[in-house]
Amino acid sequence: MNIAPIYRREMRSYFSTPIAYVFIVIFLLLTGVFTFYVGGFFSRGQADLEPFFAWHPWLYLFLAPALGMRLWAEEKKTGTFELLLTLPVSMTDAVLGKFLAAWTMIGISLILTFPMWATVNILGDPDNGVILISYLGSLLMAGAYLAVSACVSAATRNQVIAFVVAVSLCFAFLLLGFPLILDFFRPWMPESLISILATLGFLQHFQSIIRGVLDLRDILYFISFMALWLYAGAWIVDHRRS
């Protein structure tokens, strides 16, 4: 395993450019706005972070592809792709190093929302176990979004295309269990497959997590989803080189 050099280079690149700071600030601003204004944090009169977490799937829908779109497309554009692929680094190392760095960025942003947690603890007596589980669920879901975005980024050298396609795919996975998406498959897919698809949406799994139900199946769902898209991403990197 030789993930560390790739991971460190990515992290360095986030923090030596404005990407890290802009991303974190926007993330914190948006979570704040959604929680307090749109989510009605105070008017609900409940000491929990549900209005905070409920917006995460929608926030990630744009922020994760924004982070993921550059992972491979930028390297292809600048030609450093060739440099990276001729280093004695395996495909797995490169894909994981890049993914983990992007995931860390979201992790850092989530940690920096701790004033949210502090506020709710000052104002009342929330169930901190549920909050911890929700944070974990949020991070897992972000990873799923990122894995899709990274895979799409590997297929193109154009970051705009990577972003637009990744947002669309993430949107489809987010709402997979809802008629909006299922109606698209219904006319030409057997009902048995439709019922399987209906269970594969992000939203159902995430909502069951933030209700405080820690079900191993939800965790396994996100982890295997990530693994699958990362694998697909590695395959694309390997087979689309010039």
């Binding site: 050099p5 360095r12 690149s13 600048t78 004695p88």
Partner: protein, 323 residues
């Protein structure tokens, strides 16, 4: 002795275009191979196959005994590569970039710091050590790319147009650096600059339309020129006709071309039969006839002419075999 890098029957097509068509060669330590060809002949594609960036449709690459496509991590470890255009991460500084590439190559930390300083001095990067790459001039970028390629002291070095974009002083410097490195390494330089072949290469391969059309020392290639062993004479008097008639009697002279050499003088180019040496015969004729001569020399042959010949004629003969 096994070759340090060996290519065997490499073939690569992009759609209907055959970029590299059955190329085989090998390079040993101590040898600098110039890889020549017109733009679009398949030079860069070949370099990318050798370094494992592209996978061939067919064929093998072996680096220090390790198969590039069976054990890529091991094969790449003994390889240093400067890709075409020297791509670099724009936001990194030379210091952090070299550190990254050393770590990715699993170099031990203290050795890496020593080597970073060493190659930094070798290619003169000290001035820009902590500047982001995107602010550097083309020359510095190229030199940083070169530093990255030699950082881990690889057994095989592959440089795709290493002097492109450098000024004449920097070109000379890079060439002498390559010469020094060649003592213990196998080096492949892809270029379309012919003077580079003369200046640094022990051997040259000319490719055209994805195929090797010539392989030999620069001297060997020069003998392929129609100017090889041609004798040129500049006459200071106007006895041109007389001299021409006398030289024509030499049995191994094929033909004589005459041209103006300025100030009313004439220049004669004497072409031998089948590249034979005729210098002595011509000299005897001149001294026996008492001709006054301003210049008298034997041409080695012109590489540019061989290059043009091989890379345009080969295409024409290809057309013939197809029709």
């Amino acid at each position: 002795m096994a070759a340090d890098i060996q290519a065997l029957n490499l073939k690569k097509t992009f759609g209907s275009i055959t970029a590299v068509n059955d190329i085989s060669f090998s390079v040993h330590a101590g040898e600098i191979l110039g890889f020549l060809g017109p733009n679009g002949a398949g030079k860069t594609t070949t370099m990318r196959l050798l370094t494992g960036y592209l996978r061939p449709d067919q064929g093998q690459v072996t680096v220090c005994g390790n198969g590039m496509f069976s054990d890529p991590v091991k094969a790449k470890a003994s390889l240093g590569y400067l890709p075409e255009g020297a791509p670099l991460y724009p936001e990194m500084t030379p210091a952090s970039f070299l550190e990254f590439s050393g770590r990715a190559r699993k170099m031990e930390s203290s050795l890496l710091q020593d080597r970073i300083r060493e190659v930094g001095d070798l290619v003169h990067l000290a001035q820009v050590w902590h500047q982001p790459v995107e602010t550097l001039s083309k020359g510095y970028k190229r030199r940083l790319g070169l530093a990255q390629a030699i950082l881990h002291d690889p057994q095989v070095l592959i440089l795709d147009e290493p002097t492109d974009g450098l000024d004449p002083n920097q070109k000379t410097e890079v060439r002498s650096l390559v010469r020094r490195l060649a003592q213990s390494k196998a080096i492949i330089i892809s270029t379309h600059i012919l003077e580079e072949v003369d200046a640094v290469c022990d051997r040259a391969i000319i490719i055209n339309e994805g195929k090797i059309v010539a392989d030999g020392t620069p001297g060997d290639l020069e003998t392929l020129s129609s100017y090889h062993n041609t004798v040129s004479v500049i006459l200071s008097s106007d006895r041109e006709g007389d001299l021409t008639a006398r030289i024509q009697k030499i049995p191994s002279v094929r033909t004589i071309e005459s041209s103006e050499a300025g100030e009313g003088r004439k220049k004669l180019l004497v072409f031998p039969e089948e590249g034979r040496a005729i210098l002595h015969e011509v000299a005897q004729v001149i001294s026996a006839g008492g001709f006054e001569v301003d210049e008298f020399r034997q041409e080695r042959g012109r590489l540019d002419e061989v290059f043009r010949d091989l890379t345009t004629k080969a295409g024409a003969s290809g057309e013939e075999t197809r029709s």
